[in-house]
């Protein structure tokens, strides 16, 4: 396999160290692209063009392929996420038990659509198709914390601190 010279990290940010370590563990092979994206997103919260360019160069992957992979998988985000995230489950059990009502309540209350971030950057609203805790349906995930069963009112109440100044936390 031709040797690909490793390009310099896009910035002096120390978090790049985590990324380069992860890539090196995979021998900087092209098949480490998704692993690399996980590492970047974990470190920086999202994948920006400079990061994709870096990953592509470091792993010897074409730019369009990096973009194609990043946009294929719903877990990867190209825009910076909000300060908080709320994932509403719309899997089968949650669909039957009221997930859609939770989603529309949050959408209406905070004027944000599923898949988007509020204008003030407070909250990213996401949907999932089953997060594997169907016995808690309807379930939501607030900043990584699984909660359920929830009513729309409970979710709105728990989200309220996200919109309080400064640095609210949904708990």
């Amino acid at each position: 396999m031709p040797h690909v010279p490793t390009p310099p990290a896009p910035s002096a940010d120390k978090r790049w160290k985590l990324v380069t370590t992860s890539l090196r563990r995979q021998g900087n092979a092209p098949h480490a692209l998704i692993e690399g994206m996980h590492a970047v997103q974990q470190a920086f919260g999202h994948l920006e063009p400079a990061s994709l360019r870096y990953l592509a160069a470091a792993l010897g992957v074409p730019l369009s392929k990096a973009y194609g992979v990043a946009t294929f998988y719903h877990h990867f985000v190209l825009e910076p996420p909000g300060a908080h995230t709320c994932v509403v489950c719309l899997g089968t059990a949650c669909h039957l038990k009221g997930g859609p009502a939770i989603l529309s309540a949050v959408e209406r209350a905070h004027r944000v659509k599923a898949g988007q971030t509020t204008a003030g950057g407070e909250l990213s609203l996401l949907v999932a198709r089953c997060i594997g805790v169907c016995s808690l349906a309807p379930a939501v995930v607030l900043d990584g914390d699984i909660q359920g069963p929830c009513t729309p009112a409970q979710v709105l109440e728990r989200l309220a601190p996200c919109f309080e100044e400064p640095e609210g936390s949904p708990r």
Binding site: P49, P62, S64, K65, A66, Y67, G68, T71, F72
Partner: protein
């Protein structure tokens, strides 16, 4: 190479083991419609136009990716297969805007001619027709995403023959689209060599050479099998 015998639509034909069914059909002058396939490029089995029925197989099989075996019994045309092919074409016409009367490739478009050939003359499904962009930033070429059928011929020719891999598919499902580099304007691509192969292999009016009026954009693909052989290093 060992030889196998096939029965295609009741007719006996022989083939080299390892050949694809489509190759064998073509060698024997048996017509099966194709869209995503192009001789000289890898086969992907995406458009589903070449589906044929093979005896003993529960599912229809794409001729372009299926390797032949001895005593294979194949049906290439019957009422059901032709209905399915029309149905798939109908879906393509419903998906994006294919108004031929204003298209540069009209009269030279594979989608249009297949529809005529198979008698697909109206669309019963909702027109989805999302308003998509035209990227005319390249000095010589342009892409009109409204005409793209996502056959990925451009992606494959650019990767497999030109070696640039400027194109790839981004997004997924019905929101998929072809992009250059990081979905940047084609004219600003750092990898595009402006060779124009993608334009030549595009079956529709999606990729075209600028400056053509309606119906003027003819494509040329004869170079491909030759180039593919040259790339493999075979004389």
């Amino acid at each position: 190479m060992s030889v196998c015998t096939l029965f295609v639509d009741g007719r006996e034909v022989s083939a080299g083991a390892g050949e694809t069914l489509l190759e064998v059909l073509r060698e024997n002058g048996i017509d099966v419609p194709t869209l995503c396939n192009l001789e000289g490029l890898s086969a992907v089995g995406a458009c589903r136009m070449c589906l044929v029925a093979v005896k003993g197989q529960g599912r229809l099989m794409p001729a372009c990716t299926t390797r032949v075996w001895d005593h294979m019994e194949v049906t290439t045309h019957d009422e059901r297969l032709d209905r399915y092919r029309r149905g798939v074409l109908e879906l393509l016409f419903a998906e994006r805007n294919h108004v031929c009367s204003v298209c540069v490739a009209s009269g030279h478009c594979e989608l249009q001619s297949l529809a005529a050939q198979l008698g697909m003359d109206h669309v019963r499904f909702d027109y989805l027709h999302p308003p998509l962009a035209v990227d005319a930033s390249h000095p010589r070429f342009a892409i009109d995403h409204n005409r793209c059928i996502l056959c990925t011929r451009c992606v494959r020719v650019c990767d497999e023959i030109e070696g640039a891999h400027t194109w790839d598919v981004a997004g997924r499902g019905v929101k998929a689209w072809v992009v250059t580099d990081l979905a940047e304007p084609w004219g600003e691509s750092s990898t595009c060599t402006s060779c124009g192969k993608c334009v030549q292999v595009c079956p529709t009016g999606s990729l075209f050479v600028k400056g053509h009026a309606v119906g003027e954009m003819e494509k040329r693909t004869a170079f491909l099998p030759y180039l593919a052989r040259r790339r493999k290093g075979t004389p």
